[in-house]
Symmetry: C2
């Protein structure tokens, strides 16, 4: 029976004399006639002791039989004293990426160019173990709240944001576009009677800028729910979701967080999340300008990236958590489907976490006549939105929703400086491989 690295100590405590371990050669250290091999498997690293020189290259996949032995000095407190060593797959010696190095000292381009190898670095794979926990916790929390998971088409005939920043797809003899969000579909499904739906799926933005906070393809954690009165219920739900995600990451990914400790990897306590401030757009502007003035910064006229950073710094200082919800955005800053609070403000919100917007959402306009009236103000012809408008024409409850950007949340939990590090195979203007 194969033993995983993390279980070797238990095997040693049981006094197992003949077990085997499989994995990659992470590191080799020769000490006189003895070789110490650090082996890597899906559970972590473990030390093998071999009474001769190791004839295999780094990253070769091996199977090692031997005795499980306790050793306080070995990582994990145990080692395998090897009696037989077989190679399952020999690695070429010209490794173009140092798998066992410190990736925080490696350039981003090199990490992404050599994805097949950089993903082998434990700190790099840690990013995606954390990400898997985020998806699991998001989904579990919503299922417990009676949400139904949906999978909607990513090929659409138009955009949800006025037709800009779309990637065109050659679809047989016509053109369609990659969906920027499942907005229209999730609203349709709320109105279908499912009432509460969520989706985890790719979303596309053909934006040309190349910044540490943008991806042209990202994973959107989307939800939409019926029978709400305002965005405040959505903010409460997002607090519940984030608290759940942070709890699960703390519980399941402690070792992964440890690998990014130097970058400040950590998760807020659930209690702090529930106490995170909810402030209006106007209040947020005031706070941002106050913080900016202290640092002799420029005047801020909008919740731009600088303002997002300032508001989070303020929230951390005032409430102990760098998470804040900003609501009541002015109509001019939000899409046409946002529900008005009054003639100027809307029932919308952003969630800001550690200096960046991770969520945008709000209550939606569900009234057919109001929807028809508002479209021309946004330069949209109602005739071009017939499928969308039919959602509201035939009975649609008050509703709203939001989306969390998976890569941004992952990056902020781990303290990664570029959101691309939190995408397995990021796409930007220049990068389409691997």
């Amino acid at each position: 029976m194969r033993i995983l690295a993390k279980n070797l100590k238990a095997a040693a405590e049981r006094g197992e004399k003949d077990v085997f371990i499989c994995g990659w050669i992470h590191r080799i250290r020769e000490l006189g006639a003895v070789s110490f091999i650090v082996l890597r498997d899906r559970s972590g690293l473990v030390q093998l002791v071999l009474d001769k020189k190791c004839e295999f290259t780094l990253e070769s996949v091996i199977m090692a039989h031997g005795e499980a032995a306790l050793n306080e000095k070995a990582p994990g407190g145990a080692e395998l004293r090897v009696t037989q060593l077989d190679c399952l797959s020999r690695a070429a010696p010209d490794l173009p990426f140092q798998v066992n190095g410190d990736v925080t000292r490696t350039g981003l381009e090199s990490i992404l160019d050599q994805r097949a190898l950089s993903l082998r670095n434990p700190a790099v794979s840690a990013i995606f173990r954390v990400q898997a926990t985020i998806i699991e916790a998001f989904s579990a929390c919503l299922r417990e709240n009676d949400f139904t998971e949906i999978k909607t088409s990513k090929l659409v005939s138009g955009g949800t944001e006025g037709g800009t920043n779309l990637f065109a797809v050659e679809y047989f003899d016509r053109k369609v576009y990659l969906a920027q969000s499942p907005q229209c579909y999730k609203q349709m499904l709320v109105a279908s009677g499912l009432e509460r739906v969520f989706e985890v799926a790719p979303a596309y933005r053909a934006e040309k800028h190349d910044t540490p906070r943008h991806l042209n393809e990202y994973v959107s954690l989307d939800l939409e729910m019926g029978f709400i009165e305002s965005e405040k219920e959505l903010i409460e739900l997002e607090k519940e979701i984030l608290a759940r995600i942070f709890e699960e990451v703390a519980r399941k990914n402690a070792a992964d967080l440890e690998l990014w400790a130097k970058s400040g990897a950590s998760v807020p306590k659930a209690e702090a999340v529930f106490n995170a401030p909810v402030i209006s757009y106007e209040q947020a502007l005031g706070i941002a300008n106050g913080e900016s003035a202290k640092k002799n910064g420029a005047r801020i006229f909008d919740i731009n990236p600088d303002a997002e950073r300032y508001v989070c710094e303020w929230a951390l200082r005032e409430t102990g958590v760098d998470l804040a919800f900003v609501n009541e955005f002015p109509r001019r800053h939000r899409p046409f489907y946002t529900y008005p609070l009054d003639s100027v403000r809307t029932m919308s919100f952003d969630a800001l976490f550690r200096g960046i917007e991770i969520t945008s959402g709000g209550r939606r306009q569900h009234d057919y006549a109001a929807q028809l009236e508002v479209l021309p103000h946004f330069g949209i012809k109602p005739e071009s939105m017939e499928d969308y408008l039919s959602i509201f024409k035939y009975g649609c409850p008050p509703h709203g929703g939001f989306a969390i950007g998976l890569e941004r949340l992952t990056a902020k939990i781990l303290g990664l400086s570029n959101v691309k590090e939190a995408s397995l195979f990021p796409r930007d203007r220049r990068r389409v491989t691997p």
Copy 2:
């Protein structure tokens, strides 16, 4: 506090005199001075009794206050005796689709053209409640088996099946393609040390044919795992996954299965799944020809759709479950990355369920030299596959995987005659809306 339809009986048993219910007007029946309204919410249908004519149209969204009362004759055993009725969203009276009708008598084109309304039919939404359970059970089963969920790019620079049937995307100043499967990426992640990965994501095939079994965009339930010896371990894993899916659907979606009872909706017992036959390609051909001969059918030279149906009929007769695993496919029928069993056969398999292939998979070639040697026989230039080949060059364990087509499995559980019915927003050669 809002009460859901399914909880009204419990409220009546508690003697609740003032509750309210929200939902859509599914049906109205006037009986003298009394109106019986069937209201639909996310939990099901419930009867409201109103002591006057109902002034609202079908599909309007209402909020009804009143007394919860037991009534054996009402669906669910209870009804709401309405004291106040408010309309939250009035439906236009020109409904272009009969939401409360029998969808099995409605044409597929009408159901898909009127998706915003057809999704409101309880039998139609049942399809997607079942689908959500399938995704949940698939994911849960794999997480318990130590698999990590991944999200890979859907924009790739080439195909995994020789470059045919690809949709091109205009990506800034170049062309990329929509991924046909996450094949290359999931192999890379096995080799990264994650060892066991799964993904639930869209996949694309630019096939021109329009059949009841094909979609141009479908949801692929994908997995890949390291350290296996043959496809037999994958078949065992798929049995475990299918048994889990069927158990969960039976437990959570009994009412949804009931809505499709006339179409034969049902799930096999877990025990039957574990006993499903595993036969070789040669055996399957023999069985198919035997069945065909009995019906004076044509000679069968390949596991084509007829053969898939015959093998399932045989499996049902012989073992009580119309599920069969066919392995050892000839090399000429499988992609270049399939692991050989001998010079003719491969360590590959298909799963056939109720007459259709729902899974294709197998062990993969993990040896770099063997991979290089085989590529030219498939007309592929090794230079064009550098990223892919680097997976194997630097240490890759023996591994394999498979994918389950979500819509096909859903359709077969419910007895739907066309896989498009099991896609929320299906895409085919002509259909790109809604």
